[in-house]
Amino acid sequence: MSWTRIVAMTRKEVLQIGRDPRSLLIILVIPLVQLFIFGYAVNLDVKHVPLCIYDRDGTQASQDFLKHFQATDYFNIVRVSDSYSDVVRNIDHGVCSVAVVVPSQFAEDLHSSGQASVQAILDASDSNSATIGMGYAQAIVQSYSSEIQVAWQEERGLGAGAPNITFEPRTWFNEDLESMADLVPGVVAMVMAVVGAFLTSLTIAREWERGTMEQLISTPVGKLEIQIGKLFPYFVIGIADTAICSGTAVLWFGVPFRGSWVVLFGCSMLFLLVVLSLGYFISVTAKSQLGACQMALLATFLPTFLLSGFIFPIDQMPVVVQWITAVLPARYYVSILRNVFLKGTEVRLLAGDIMALAAIAVVLVVLATRSFKKRLA
């Protein structure tokens, strides 16, 4: 191993990266664009669900009931309908995704039999929002129901003694259940996976494509020297991107950071080793830039997005898919990042994830080194 050869190789890569507008764009712009897209555009919190109401009763009681929908953030009353056909039209046209219909006998039923029902119509073409909307509507009906129960009991002087359980949820770590706080660690992982693997996937393929590889491998430079020399600049870039993404998440989006920066950067370096080796391996195998960068995107973007637990929880996946995620480095990294950002978990509790990541890193580094041959054909 020659230090001067590694330095010369690194220096050459840095010069080339600096003169390639494409690389610079990927390094500087993609991380921020991704962070802002996920920060602002992808909002998994369901609030202000568009609601349509149709009051067929028109009594004091029905108006009182519907006011409860007005008083909350969860719904926005966008239409007050006067017929069923209007309700249907609003759902069809996507004006509202939930409609609440109060039947004409509402006040009377309530009074006489103590039983009344209301109808909710849900647009389940977006099943996720529909389920959440239904949950909100149920909660509102429940709270109104207990309200009038208490009032009824008080009227009869039974007030204080009535048994009652109240549910007081306290969410930990992400107190406001903000999806942003949950997403940012995933976004950091995604940026690193894509930037790391994508950029390195070009380094070897580019040399083959331009014919410079033939000259390079005719020199005494060792293959490990090529690998270290070429990956080092991307390693530094990856660390810088981690800092940019984490910094923006904490300072701009107000995501809490409760763990240690040492753990964050230590684990990020390990993850970088994984994605850079993956990119390098792809680059050696593909020998063409186009093939290599497509393969790199396929190998990093999709699995990181779908299978890392970043958006879709792993324990909700079919068992077979859960097994597949076991070999996915991003899964462990996302888990580490979530813990470091939101929980501030101690290192020893992250040992399992760190060990898994390290094991994958060893496999990929060996694979990348082995795959490169200083021969043509």
């Binding site: 050869r5 190789m9 410079t212 000259q215 005719s218």
Partner: protein, 320 residues
């Protein structure tokens, strides 16, 4: 390095790519400090041989040593002793001239204290003094080739392999390039060069003529010209050229005939006896005939004659 043995030694070297035999049982030796030429048309196996000698391809069978080191067993050790310039321009176009030289100085582990002097030397050699800051991509082909040579010999290798270094280069630059090769040989370097330019082959100390992966002749240019013609050479000026060539090729006394410039070169057993006969033959068939005289064969004549013989014998084999 062993100064007594041959610089490059090749024994029964064969390289197959699937069914295709690119190099077919080739043996030769190149001595220290000579220009050893590999001459042949495209696809004759020149580049494949050179790549095997640089350790870039593994031979299918046979043996090759460079500076006494087996290229198949120990390619890394071979690379310490050689400079290689591939057929395709293979420097970094997005680096500046000096940056390319610095990079290869690093790859060849040129001692740090020697680097400035070596780079200055390479720039001077390539005629790029004061242009180290220029973009490599903007250089003309001739300069690019000389820069590539500079990069390949920064570490003063005793053996240099040049694969068609002058293809696509203008005549003046070609001349300058060959002057560089001569000056390197003057310093005791062995230069192994491939070309398909016959005039360049004349500059070589010794030559191998290669056709379809096989050696068809080997020797100094003079030896080749004197020993490898199957007869004597007549230069025939006549018109119209095409039909005359067809007629001469079928004439029993003519061993071989081919168009060269504005005339026909014909190989015959006895030039002095045949010259008047050919004139008669031409005039009898209503051709106009000019000068008909014996000439000294050029390498091109030798080459055409040798490859034609081999092609003809192959056709016979196929017919039988």
């Amino acid at each position: 390095m062993n100064q007594n043995g041959p610089s490059v030694m090749v024994q029964n070297l064969t390289k197959r790519f699937g069914d295709f035999v690119a190099v077919d049982d080739v043996s030769f030796e190149a001595r220290h400090g000579e220009i050893f030429g590999f001459l042949g048309p495209n696809g004759s196996g020149k580049s494949t041989t050179i790549r095997i000698l640089c350790g870039l391809l593994r031979p299918s069978s046979g043996r090759a040593t460079v500076a006494g080191i087996d290229v198949a067993r120990n390619p890394e050790a071979v690379r310490q002793h050689i400079g290689y310039m591939s057929q395709k321009f293979s420097l970094y176009n997005d680096l500046r001239v000096a940056e390319n030289l610095e990079f290869f100085a690093g790859m060849y582990s040129v001692p740090k204290k020697d680097i400035p002097a070596r780079i200055a030397w390479a720039l001077k050699m390539a005629g790029l003094e004061g242009r180290g800051h220029n973009a490599t991509s903007a250089l003309a082909v001739g300069w690019k080739q000389r820069l590539a040579l500079g990069c390949a010999v920064l570490h003063r290798p005793p053996i240099v392999f040049l694969d068609e270094p002058t293809s696509g280069v203008d005549p003046v630059s070609r001349r300058q390039f060959w002057e560089l090769i001569h000056s390197m040989v003057g310093e005791g370097v062995t230069v192994f060069v491939t070309t398909h330019y016959m005039d360049e082959a004349e500059y070589c100390n010794r030559l191998v003529l290669l056709d379809r992966g096989r050696i068809v002749a080997m020797g100094t240019p003079t030896e080749l010209k004197s020993h490898h013609m199957k007869g004597e050479l007549l230069m025939i000026e006549c018109e119209p050229l095409g039909p005359a060539l067809e007629m001469l090729q079928t004439a029993p006394e003519v061993l071989d005939a081919a168009v060269f410039g504005s005339g026909i070169h014909a190989v015959v057993a006895d030039a002095a006896a045949m010259a008047p006969k050919i004139r008669e033959l031409l005039l009898a068939r209503q051709f106009r005939a000019g000068r008909i005289e014996q000439i000294a064969p050029s390498l091109e004549d030798v080459f055409v004659s040798l490859t034609a013989v081999r092609g003809a014998s192959k056709n016979k084999e196929a017919a039988a």
